[in-house]
Amino acid sequence: MFWTLIRHRWKSFFRSPALTQQLFQSIFMGLFFLYLALNFLFLGLFASKILRKAYPDGNIYEIMGGILIYYFLFDLIIRSLIQKFPILEVKNYLPFNISKSTLTHFLISTSLTSFFNLLPLLGIVPFIASNWGEMLSLGILIPFSLVILGWILANNFLGFLLDRLFRKESKIPYIIISALALLLYLDYNNYVQLSGYFRDAFHYVLIHPWMSLVPFLVAIISYLLGFQLIKNNLYIEDLIPVKVTEAKSIQLGFLERYGLAGKLMLLEVKLIMRNKRARMMVFIALVMLAYPMIFLQGEIMEMNWIKLFIGTFVTGMFALNYGQLMLSWNSTHFDLLATRKITMIDIFRAKYYIMAFSCVVLLLPALLYGIIYPEFLWIFPIMFLYNIGITIFIYMFLAAYNSKRIDLSKSAVMNYEGITIAHFLIMVPIIILPIFIRYPFAKMGHPVLGESLIALLGLLGFIFHKTLIVRSTNLFRRNRYKIMAAFRKKN
């Protein structure tokens, strides 16, 4: 029976609509993972060279171990957040005559096929392979390999336990990740010496080979604990907890005064505030406000064009992210919008104002950077104009071609539903265009002229925004049947 279940899982993977129908998305995700995999592969191959150069008199294996401890700590938390366990698939088997133990073993063991288990191996195997002679002569080949393998398994099953633990307290993993990142930063700048302790711990393991079995022990215990936990709670309502959130009212009285457009904007605000994935966009935009800090001290600020780039991101991060999915955000209730006394122009108008408004909201705090770098008082308003006059309209015209349904109720982390390769590609011209416009003027020694031209173009876009909204709506209306049909298609 166990193997029948495994065969079903195999089929469900190859027959999933995500793999065939959303081919582009799958290819993109595939490329993304391939890129990650190649990075790890090269990192593994060249790690020993890099480490030897950086620490000419240190034991590179112990140093590697110290780094790996950090890696595995991050890995564990991230797994608990995004590694998906095939819980839903088990649901379909519950009514049948299959023992709960079999189902539980299946559920937990299929988690081993995760990409998270492959990734570290891709780095470690070439690392060991390129140094195996030396490692063998030092007598650490076997304990080193074992401890890594054991740790991958331990993280896999521990992540499974943590996922269930964090489900109740969803903020904890983010706090842990932030704390770890801070520690890593302090460690890197020698404020604390945690990696030194990690190295000592690893040294201890290497000289006491039996210690390398500890991770396996952790893995086995986690497996057994997970097994007990799942087996005793193998009910649909436990596997897929029904969360009923109490509705919080959102009052934005001033919007009500703007009639239908105001109503639609209020609807949009509710959409953003009450759906995790959309809320994430707000969060990212706020985090991006801190983005210029990375550059503030570096020589990188000497390069003036980079400020345009910063300006686009800082004032337009919300519009850039939210606009990508434009009408897809409304895909689950689009038929209502299409058949009621709302014209498409009303909807596009509300979208435009919401995004333009977000740019205003982001511009104001961003101007505080002017205290340190007065040029930002000039650059940020320019890029703000560029965003409200150009960026948003690029997205509004693209909405006529963007026909991906997204299910708002799904979680936000690593959720690429509705995102295609085109979404990432389109960011490139948006970011490069202003730099491109400014370039010839900068070459001639008049960058200010180039910057003014960007501002002028943005301003023109804003002045004619009503016409542009009508134009983009007309384009959408011509493609509407295709897009509405795609919005109705559930995965």
Partner: protein, 229 residues
Amino acid sequence: MIRFENISKKYGQTEVLNIPELEISKNEIIGLVGNNGAGKTTAFSILLDLIKPTSGRVISKNDDVSQSEEWKSYTASFLDDSFLIGFLTPDEYFEFIGTLANMNRKETLEFVNKYEVFFNGEIIGKKKYLRDLSKGNQKKVGLVAALIGHPEVLVLDEPFSNLDPTSQIRLKKIIQEASNDKTILISSHDLNHVLDICTRVILLEKGLIIKDIPNDSAAVEEIQTYFAG
């Protein structure tokens, strides 16, 4: 009021709907019946300009529905859950629909309060998002929302499915009470409900209208014979 002209819808080689001519007059209550795959929902979707017919057009009050958006001002519909906004509470949803009919919050709530019995006390004033309601309650919200603003044309797809027997009976009463000055189109595969409230029954089979008869006792027998197979 509404006229289907040479409507046909094909997916590839398969024709799922073919209505050369169909005229629906004001104040008629049309019951569209047929087994699964007969083309009921397709017909409604074309009428509401949600899908594009392969050929032909639907005229509502002299306007082609795919060209003008005028019909939206007097037509209300509820086909499925893509007509619901999951992240709103029922009250907010009603209010939103009310605004589209130029009704303020108070007027809208007064209107929906008339259906408190139908809602069985589980909907109005509850702090729950629509996405968290049961299928049956979601359906009730969508149906009542379609009545807001007294639309001249009302289009309901399978309004009785997912409702408990008591609610089905109440719904029939609600539709009958609302039918004054309205043109109503209802699809269903439950023959009895349709015969209870409709003035005219249209039977679809594999995309074709095979019967189009006034709802009288002769019709009842004719159609019952059909469904008996």
